[in-house]
């Protein structure tokens, strides 16, 4: 196993629908200070800062890392922003990983955030589409995602109930997560009866819109030696894409995610993910995506995701718990969501979860993604 890069500090803000008490810079600072404190460091110990956030239209500040630099105390340090859609939190951590593994820095602070209360979210997302042929009929990301789910229903015979079970599980798990701001248990019947937004997606299949930030301190093996908390080691990570020609894309498995899984698993010796991983955190923008990820990540055979959720295996007491934090259904500050998944896994494998702790977890998987479901990445994190 590679032991080149460790996560030694974890920080999340209080997430909420609208954080009126802080600016974007203040929100980022809140997470950064927590991560630094957790790592027993100050910003003076940090060689380099990576900022990750979603599209500029989300917060209406162009290149916001240039505003954040003062609040982070990072003046005259290397500061760069990675923006790769909704999975940018993981993509930012990936850049930090290579800054360390490539010898550019010893200690890197990664700060990921979005303050979604300051922009018009679905309007912003609608501008993803090609201005000539795509924008007229594309409404946010929901219509596209509904097609994704509908394809599974038509071809695999999956039902609306399967996605509803994800909503029930994640919303129940979020009850124990101190950082989640949506805390309400629901039943399958309530999900099915909730208002259709873009059928088969219904209101309770959809995550909240959140303000929030997350930060980690990442270190070389040498720099991690003095860390007060047990380090979580990154065994492998990557972020892959597929081009945008929708007509040729399979809506059943996520090709870039399956590709990422194949490559990363091979590099870190994962041959049976369901047996080897103790815990999995996925960034599920809508419930149906979690089911797609089960298959793309090899947690079950293609087409078996509905049976996997129904079997209870992905519940916290199942053999492959998925999203014990509640995932995005508990809080969804998009640009931070991928990094939050990594934080939750790092906390699980070092026995430091502040919510539901999976007993004895030693190896975990964090998944993240964005774009129009064509940017997908993952990280394998172990004790």
């Amino acid at each position: 196993m590679q032991r080149d890069v460790a996560i030694t500090g974890l920080g999340q803000t209080r997430h909420s629908r609208r954080r009126t008490d802080v600016s974007q810079a203040g929100l980022a600072r809140e997470a950064a200070l927590k991560a630094l404190d957790d790592a027993g460091l100050t910003i003076d110990d940090i060689d380099s800062v990576v900022v990750a956030s979603g599209p500029e239209l989300f917060g209406a500040v162009n290149q916001p890392e240039k505003w954040l630099v003062d609040a982070l105390g990072a003046r005259l340090k290397p500061v760069v922003r990675i923006t790769s859609g909704g999975g940018t939190g993981l993509a930012g951590a990936l850049a930090a990983y290579y800054q360390i593994a490539g010898g550019f820095a010893e200690r890197v602070l990664v700060v990921a955030y979005d303050k979604l209360s300051e922009g018009a979210l679905q309007y912003s997302i609608s501008t993803l589409y090609d201005p000539f042929w795509g924008r007229d009929f594309a409404v946010g990301i929901m219509g596209f995602s509904a097609a994704y789910w509908r394809a599974r229903m038509d071809i695999l015979g999956h039902t609306e109930e399967a996605a509803a079970m994800v909503a029930v599980k994640n919303r129940r798990n979020a009850m124990s997560n101190p950082y989640a701001h949506v805390k309400k248990e629901v039943t399958v019947e309530e999900v099915l009866a909730s208002k259709p937004l873009a059928w088969p997606l219904k209101a309770l299949d959809v995550p909240p819109i959140s303000d929030g930030a997350a930060a980690v301190v990442m270190c070389s093996a040498r720099a991690a030696a003095g860390s007060p908390a047990p380090p979580a080691w990154i065994h492998g990570m990557g972020y892959y894409c597929e081009a945008d020609n929708a007509a040729e894309r399979s809506l059943l498995v996520s090709e870039p995610l399956a590709l990422a899984a194949r490559r990363i698993y091979r590099s870190c010796g994962i041959t049976n993910p369901r047996r080897q991983f103790d815990v999995v955190e996925v960034q599920e923008p809508y419930t149906c995506f979690e089911l797609n990820y089960y298959e793309s990540l090899g947690l079950c055979a293609p087409g078996e995701a509905a049976s996997l959720i129904a079997s209870g295996a992905t519940q916290p007491d199942g053999d492959i718990p998925v999203n014990p934090s509640g995932g995005c259904l508990g809080a969804n500050p998009i640009g931070a969501a991928g990094l939050i998944r990594m934080i939750e896994v790092a906390a699980q494998v070092t026995g430091r979860s502040e919510g539901i702790q999976i007993p004895g977890a030693r190896l975990g998987l964090a998944q993240s993604g964005g774009g129009w479901a064509n940017l997908r990445g993952l990280a394998v994190i172990g004790a």
Partner: protein, 371 residues
């Protein structure tokens, strides 16, 4: 951990034009992606990752990299968007190869500011509470830097105008830039005011264009059919966003980035054969040259004819494709190192490459190349 050496093995660039009105983003991008492999013996199948620079704000499109993945040749590859001027994307690529995680990386940067408003691009970078309400922007910051520079060092606006005219002549002679008629120093002085004492021609001219650079590990670079240029030093630094708290008369972030890159390379700045720097205004360029150690404070106007060949391509003043300017500098420096005769150079051995971003050049990236 031992790190692989990283080389630039090829580059390709479209002409930089005030407006590529007959071409879409994907046309500019696919032109450089298909050209960058020519003569290298490498192809798209050899590329392990694609890192790119472009701006959602200039493109009028959220996650705009998503729409260009096919043109970038990124399908089923690792891809990330680093939103600066392309040089930071190359830096990320260099760390990934140095870590031993990849052998070949394709770095792409593009811009079409002709479809947008460059002043809004910069003013929307200003934080919304204190700076934006008073209309502070990149022109204001550049104008203040210029006033200070001229006053501190007893220089004149006509000297700036001569520098600008010279850069345009260089771009016309050697740069891959659509120039038309070169402005004379008188034309530069007579151009409309941008922010006193800077006229609009003393600000860099926004241009459309794309550039691609191919990076490779030592093992691949040594097998490549062209002589590689090795990346020997990397450094970046960002100054305070608050313009008033930056050190007046200097670019401290550029100094810090240069210190990191040059000390890593063990290169004395004035021993470099070539410097390609991105100044977003005439005084911006002078401040960069001084921060890089290529001239003493206040003396950059006199450094033009010293040992290091500075901005033989014309630099950013005649052609600033904003999100690609730094990667154009890397491409130019690589071309000058590997085809020195095209530029009237004898036997250059090293280059300092500089990129910048932000209002009043808040952030800087420095890379050294050696052959």
């Amino acid at each position: 951990m031992t790190h692989s050496r990283v080389a630039v093995v090829a580059s390709a660039q479209t002409e930089l034009r005030p407006a590529w009105s007959g071409a879409q983003h994907i046309d500019l991008i696919s032109a450089v992606v298909s050209n960058v492999f020519k003569g290298t013996g490498l192809g798209l199948a050899d590329v392990d990752f694609v890192f790119d620079s472009g701006s959602d704000v200039l493109d009028g499109r959220s996650i705009s990299n998503c729409g260009f993945l096919g043109a970038m040749g990124a399908h089923h590859k690792e891809e990330s968007r680093i939103e600066e001027d392309g040089l930071w994307a190359a830096l990320y690529g260099a760390t990934k190869i140095a870590a031993g995680a990849a052998s070949v990386g394709l770095i792409i940067a593009y811009s079409k500011p002709s479809e947008s408003d460059i002043n809004k691009f910069y003013s929307s970078q200003c934080e919304p509470f204190l700076q934006r309400p008073v209309g502070f922007d990149h022109r204001a910051a550049s104008g203040m830097q210029a006033q200070r520079y001229l006053a501190d060092h007893g220089r004149t606006a006509s000297e700036l105008a001569s520098l600008v005219a010279r850069r345009w002549r260089d771009a016309a002679a050697r740069g891959r830039v659509a120039v038309g008629t070169c402005p004379s120093a008188q034309d530069v002085l007579a151009a409309p005011n941008a922010a006193r004492p800077l006229t609009s021609l003393m600000m860099s001219r926004p241009t459309d264009g794309a550039v691609a650079v191919l990076l490779a590990s030592e093992e691949i670079a040594l097998r490549s059919q062209r002589a590689p240029a090795w990346i020997t030093g990397l450094g970046t630094s960002m100054d305070s966003h608050a313009f008033h708290s930056r050190k007046p008369g200097a670019l401290e972030a550029c100094e810090a980035a240069a210190r990191r890159a040059l000390s890593r390379a063990g290169l004395a700045p004035r021993s470099a054969s070539i410097a390609e720097v991105s100044g977003s205004s005439a005084v911006g360029e002078l401040l960069v040259l001084e921060a890089l150690g290529l001239a003493d404070a206040g003396k950059a106007l006199d450094a033009a004819d010293a040992g290091t060949a500075i901005n033989l391509s014309g630099g950013a003043l005649p052609a600033d494709p904003v999100m690609a300017t730094g990667l154009v500098r890397l491409s130019e420096a690589f071309r000058q190192l590997t085809y020195p005769r095209l530029y009237g150079l004898a036997s250059p051995t090293s280059a300092i490459v500089h990129g910048a971003g932000g209002v009043g050049m808040q952030s800087h990236c420095v890379m050294t190349l050696e052959v």
